[in-house]
């Protein structure tokens, strides 16, 4: 059975635990990288969706870009406690740019 993971700061992921998602709190870049590697490679259960908090996603850009053109898992940015940082928007922009050739939004 497939699972959903949330990777983010301790405060951010806490609420999602109650909803029944698998949460992976990470405070630093190293922890985030470690958790991300576990989620995508080492874990026994398959995670189809990985929500990554935006301020951690900054450290994981390289890893995340590798999963952009495979059907699964989907890696989605979510805003953290401080509100949206615009990383989700820029991901959308990047996709449009890739497809159209220029930024038309």
């Amino acid at each position: 059975m497939l699972k959903i993971a949330v990777l983010g700061g301790r405060d951010t992921v806490m609420g999602f635990k109650a909803l029944g998602l698998d949460v992976f709190p990470a405070g630093s870049a190293e922890e985030a990288k470690e958790a991300f590697r576990y989620l995508t490679k080492e874990s026994e259960v398959e995670y189809a969706i990985i929500y990554v908090e935006e301020n951690l996603a900054r450290y994981l850009e390289h890893e995340i870009s590798r999963y952009k053109d495979v059907p699964s898992p989907a890696i989605i940015f979510i805003p953290g406690r401080e509100g949206p940082l615009g990383l989700g928007q820029s991901a959308l922009k990047a996709a449009v740019e890739k497809a159209v050739g220029t930024d038309i939004l």
Binding site: L19, I49, Y51, A74, P84, G88, A91, A95, V96, A99
Partner: protein
């Protein structure tokens, strides 16, 4: 001269004509594919934009409630309250085919159908704001799931569009002009050969006539 070396023979000419025809047809088909992908992509982008706005707003709201809850309750109590979830989510994934791109379609099932099961704690020791935060979070989660699906679709489509566009351009600006060039080169070369053969024949004829009849112009 064509960029690639071709032997100027009639057989190669025929082969090239066949390949040019295929390339033209492929170019037209791929162009249609690209246009349709682009149309679908723009729909998905629009949907994605809308969903992202909704999710970001919803999460901001939920986090605001959670912040309020954490000021009322001690961090230990808050953590304890949320530590053991009663709810768990199982995700199903199937694939949908959009113009030969496989995109995921998610369906999720919660273990407990009772919506109140998202509160994994007794109500006596926790604040109402926490309930509020979790309710908002549960609501925004449905949008989050759809966002995941739409965003992945968007990424995969973008990838495919890029690939298709490259192919279209390669056909239009490289392959087809190359073929045309080669065909022109071969037909010119063949014509040249033909006229030189004709001239040679005429010359030979003259020589033969001269020898036979001592004939001279």
């Amino acid at each position: 001269m064509p960029k690639t070396a071709v032997t100027p023979t009639r057989m190669v000419l025929n082969q090239l004509k066949g390949r040019l025809k295929t390339a033209r047809r492929g170019h037209k088909l791929l162009k249609d594919k690209r246009d349709e992908l682009m149309r679908q992509f723009m729909d998905v982008v629009r949907l994605n934009k809308e969903l992202r706005r909704k999710v970001e707003e919803g999460m901001t709201g939920a986090f605001a409630s959670l912040t309020v809850a954490s000021t009322i309750m001690s961090p230990e109590m808050l953590e304890q309250a949320l530590l053991h979830p009663r709810q768990s989510v199982e995700l199903g994934m199937s694939f949908k085919n959009i113009m030969s791109v496989n995109v995921p379609v998610y369906s999720f099932r919660t273990k407990n159908n009772d919506p109140s099961e998202i509160y994994p704690y007794g109500f006596a020791q926790t604040s109402g704001e926490l309930d509020d935060a979790l309710e908002k979070l549960a609501k925004v989660f449905e949008d989050m799931l759809e966002l995941a699906q739409v965003e992945k679709t968007m990424q995969l489509l973008a990838e495919e569009i890029e690939k298709t566009r490259r192919r279209v351009n390669a056909l239009e600006y490289v392959m087809i002009p190359n073929f045309e060039e080669s065909i022109r080169y071969i037909s010119m070369k063949l014509e040249e050969n033909e006229s030189s053969t004709k001239v040679r024949l005429m010359k030979v004829k003259d020589m033969v006539l001269e020898k036979a009849h001592n004939f001279e112009y």
